[in-house]
């Protein structure tokens, strides 16, 4: 990504820092990791544990909150504070924690079923409020923990145990959904690309407000190979559209393809040779108007997938606004006096 790795993390300004040198090992627990051998979750866990020392935060001020599903076992393996909660509710629980404890770095770990089925409501509201949460959405397009039913991101026609004749639902595009929900930071990355994943995590950590990071994650038991075209060295360069802020969007093994404006506000994939370099769209993740980010999100097809940061804009966070209201009230009315409160209104005295 073209933007330099942020050296400061405004979102973490209120979180106490440590002087000690941390390594990935400091973030490992003594719990045996119990995902299926070959699960993409291992790679994500390693990336998160490997990246957290960069932040230099006191470990006790980091909290991982999860819902239910394979991905939601994540907190048990992180030597921080953590809560493995209930299906879909992690964004709500994390909201209460983040609103009362600005000194914490709060992460939500969720999956496509957890975040987009049962927890869809909480996800969109956490995003629109812009609560200072980092939401890692592990998307494997299948229900793993319940043994292989289709999920809200499964492609239509998916044959699973619960859909032997093919699923009927149109899938969610999590990036489009998050953008529609007024999210201020929306990104997509892949479990197997450690470098890209880490860079997206850095940017998410630096973002002040709600960050949604969709991580394509392979479920090798129930949906193996779902993202093969993005992982296979033979196909990945032609299938992956890497978004870099400020750069023309070009991709392909020989960077021969690009993204240009199409009809009606949409975007289209073009041959650079045919349209010329100047016709290529320059990615602007910081644009206030989410229209272009949304159009980019619609380029996700079985053959092409944009990855990177779609949108990263600044808007006041809900938790900070809430704290400000309290501070303003104290400034205007003074610290509340319980005796005065109870004696308020019409009173009378009996001697």
């Amino acid at each position: 990504m073209s933007e330099a790795t942020p050296r400061t993390y405004p979102a973490l300004a209120l979180v106490p820092k440590t002087d000690a040198t941390q390594t990935a090992k400091d973030f490992k627990t003594d719990q045996e990791v119990r995902w299926c051998p070959g699960c993409g979750d291992y790679a994500i866990l390693a990336a998160v544990q490997g990246f957290l020392p960069e932040l230099g935060l006191r470990r006790e001020n980091i909290v991982f909150v999860s819902g239910i599903g394979c991905s939601s076992r994540f907190p048990y393996y992180m030597n921080t504070y953590g809560m493995h909660s209930i299906h879909g509710r992690a964004p709500a629980i994390a909201t209460g924690l983040a609103c009362t404890r600005p000194d914490l770095s709060v992460w939500v770990v969720t999956g496509d079923g957890d975040a987009l089925s049962i927890g869809g409501n909480h996800l969109i509201h956490a995003l629109r409020r812009n609560v200072n949460l980092k939401i890692l959405l592990f998307n494997n397009r299948i229900y793993g923990l319940t043994k292989g039913q289709y999920s809200p991101t499964s492609e239509q026609g998916k044959i699973t145990k619960s859909t032997p004749f093919g699923s009927l639902d149109t899938p969610f595009n999590p990036i489009s959904l998050a953008l529609g929900a007024e999210a201020t930071f929306v990104a997509r990355t892949i479990d197997s690309d450690r470098k890209h994943l880490t860079e997206v995590l850095r940017q998410a950590a630096a973002h002040q407000g709600a960050a949604l990071v969709e991580i394509y994650q392979n479920c090798n038991i129930f949906n193996d190979g779902a993202f093969d075209n993005l992982k296979n060295p033979a196909t990945r360069d032609d299938a992956t559209i890497r978004l870099e802020h400020g750069q023309p969007i070009r991709f392909g093994k020989d960077l021969d393809k690009g993204v240009a404006r199409g009809a009606g506000g949409s975007l289209r994939i073009v041959d650079v040779a045919e349209v010329g370099e100047d016709a290529l769209l320059v990615h602007d993740a910081h644009a206030t108007d989410p229209a272009q980010a949304f159009a980019l999100s619609r380029l996700s097809t079985p053959t092409h997938t944009p990855i990177g940061v779609f949108r990263s804009v600044t808007r006041p966070t809900y938790d900070a606004l809430m704290t400000e209201q309290l501070e303003r009230a104290v400034a205007a009315q003074g610290e509340g006096d319980l005796g005065e409160l109870l004696r308020g209104g019409d009173t009378w005295t009996i001697k």
Binding site: S85, I86, L97, R343
Partner: protein, 616 residues
């Protein structure tokens, strides 16, 4: 002209009109005047769920009943002595509750052919003799108000709207109420609309003067102040008292208050009230749904806040899963259920106490939760403090049960000294407690069985909790059968043990030889007390006991119940406490059950008690 003044010991007034007639405001103003005068009082607002039902129809009738006396009273009264009926619908809807001889003040301007037809009156009841049993004062309240406001720079509609203040002025004169408070109130309320302010004050004063000069009323009444314990009082509704109780608990615990809530009748006023008090460090979060409301509260509890969610029965249904999680996490959380008529949406604005078993058992698995119930509007304050105390001390979700009657009803409340309120300070865990310097989140206090509350930000105590079964002491995930059995029993024992930490059940039995005990819980306290006094006045003996704690019950409950030949349990449900009592103590309790969306009438209850006494 000098009017005769007659002394009364108590009066029950019901103001009734269309939803848009301002009857709740009129009633609450009259209540404030009455409170300021020093009478004991009890109120019962009764309004439709529709914000504006079609004008002039029976479903649109909104009423406010007030009982005031020169002695202690505990109920809003059974039958009104006075009905103020602003339209034919209000007359028709309320007439059946009036005893013969009651005063009826009607607004004749609204008794038009059309309005009469709307509610099915074939002839005008003011003219056909059907009200002969009552003292009818037929007054053109609307036109008198409009006349009184002539010359003011307001629309005719605004003038007509002030008729409730005219009525209030008239009633204030009739019962010799002080008027300064209402005038001051109108000044404040309409400070930004001077013309409307003037109109309302003028209408109020005109109503008073009309009473003084008209020949329609020959008698003015006086109800002397009631002797009450010394102290400073205010009138308070249950929801306000509950909100204050939570703020007090926050202050007394030193923990910031976090309310995660979603609007629902009749609980919303607690959210409204708490959202005003940000200078007390109160954070209110209006969530996207009931589930997120309690979820955010639980997250705040994990972070060390005094966490509360407020709702009614349908909301509890949605919060159930999170309450189960809170049981597993063993974190403090107060769930306020302001009960209303059910099932499902039921009767949103009517009272009921049918969520007891939902609070007791409405979760998957063995998931015990303490239950505390308030008995009167003012008592919601103390009940809130007690619910917070148990939650904080035992690290558990606690149900605080109130209901629609307590929520909106009001009574005089002796304002407590903040420094005399219970000390709710808690100690967070700060040091590792395991044998090798680890932190064991499920190593319990041997007395309370509560686990340590280690909040994020505490170095060395990093730990993970969650809904999966935890290993005893260490708190790691455990699928061990014996461990699960132990944890289920330990969680149950923790809640049962609270019985050692609550006062014994007290019995009121003035003669000491009663053979029948009336056992109640929640808002039936007032009617049960009034009924027991009536029964005693009639020459019988009866004992009364009222439960604040419904889970666990006070330790002496079984012993108390077995002292009596018969135990009668009146409930606004089909026998939920009776079911628990029978199951736990093998006592053959008798139920008295009415589920009408309204509080019990003391007279009916007294009859039921006498029947049981006679059967012994």
């Amino acid at each position: 002209m000098t009017k005769q003044v007659q002394q009364l010991d108590r009066v029950i007034i019901r103001f009734a009109g269309d939803s848009g007639d301002g009857m709740q405001l009129t009633g609450s103003r009259f209540t404030s005047e009455t409170a300021a005068f020093g009478n004991d009082l009890s109120t019962l607002p009764d309004f439709p769920a529709e914000i504006r039902a079609p004008a002039g129809t029976l479903p649109g009738v909104s009423a406010f009943q007030l009982h005031f006396a020169d002695h202690e009273i505990t109920t809003p009264g059974d039958a009104p002595n006075v009905l103020v009926a602003m339209n034919p619908a209000a007359l028709k809807a309320n007439l059946k509750d009036l005893p013969p001889g009651a005063d009826i003040i009607v607004n004749t301007d609204e008794f038009t052919k059309r309005n009469l037809a709307k509610v099915g009156y074939e002839s005008n009841p003011l003219e056909d003799g059907s009200l002969d049993r009552y003292q009818v004062h037929a007054l053109p309240l609307t036109s008198m108000t409009v006349d009184a406001l002539e010359g003011l720079d307001i629309s005719k509609k605004d003038a007509e709207r002030a008729k409730n203040m005219f009525a209030l002025g008239l009633l204030s004169w009739l019962y010799s109420r002080p008027t300064e408070g209402t005038i001051e109130f109108l000044r404040r309320r309409f400070a930004k609309k001077p013309a409307i302010m003037e109109a309302n004050i003028k209408a109020f004063q005109a109503g008073w003067s009309f009473g003084e000069t008209t020949e329609a009323f020959s008698v003015q009444y006086e109800v002397k102040p009631a002797p009450m314990p010394a102290g400073t009082y205010r009138n308070i509704t249950g929801n306000l008292a509950l909100a204050y109780g939570l703020i007090a608990a926050s202050r007394r615990s030193g923990l910031p208050l976090f309310l995660g809530s979603y609007p629902i009748t009749p609980a919303s006023d607690i959210l409204h009230e708490l959202s005003k008090h940000k200078n007390f460090g109160v954070r209110t979060f209006q969530a996207e749904d009931e589930i997120a409301g309690i979820g955010a509260a639980l997250g705040a509890a994990f972070g060390g806040a005094l966490a509360v969610t407020t709702t009614s029965g349908p909301g509890v249904a949605l919060k159930t899963e999170t309450i189960g999680l809170a049981v597993a996490l063993e974190l403090p959380l107060v769930i306020c259920d302001i009960q209303r008529g059910g099932p499902s949406t039921g009767l949103p604005t009517k009272t009921e106490q049918a969520d007891l078993l939902q609070a007791m058992f409405g979760r998957n698995g063995e998931a015990p939760a303490p239950i505390v119930a308030a008995r009167s509007p003012g008592d919601c304050f103390d009940a809130a403090l007690e619910a917070c105390r148990i939650a904080l001390k035992y690290r558990t979700p606690v149900f605080l049960l109130s209901d629609g009657y307590l929520a909106n009803g009001s009574e005089p409340w002796r304002i407590p000294d903040p420094d005399a309120l219970p000390d709710l300070r808690v100690e967070f865990a700060t040091e590792p407690n395991g044998p090798n310097g680890e932190f064991w989140p499920y190593l319990r206090d041997p007395q309370t069985l509560a686990r340590p509350w280690a909040v994020p930000g505490t170095p060395g105590l990093e730990h993970r909790i969650g809904g999966l079964e935890k290993a005893d002491r260490t708190g790691t995930v455990s699928y061990d059968p014996d461990n699960h059995d132990l944890m289920v029993r330990t969680r149950a024992a923790k809640i049962e043990g609270i019985a050692r930490d609550i006062p014994p059940l007290e019995v009121e039995d003035p003669t000491g030889d009663a053979r029948v005990l009336v056992l109640g819980w929640g808002s039936t306290y007032g009617p049960i007390g009034a009924a027991c006094r009536a029964v005693r006045d009639a020459g019988f003996t009866v004992a009364q006991a009222h439960l604040r704690h419904l889970n666990p019950f006070p330790a002496n409950t079984g012993e108390v119940l077995r002292r009596y030949d018969k135990v009668l349990i009146p409930e606004m449900n089909l026998g939920q406490l009776a079911l628990l009592v029978r199951a736990k103590y093998l006592v053959d309790a008798i139920g008295y059950n009415r589920v009408r969306g309204l509080p019990f009438k003391a007279v009916e209850l007294a009859e039921a008690i006498q029947e049981v006494i006679k059967s012994v």
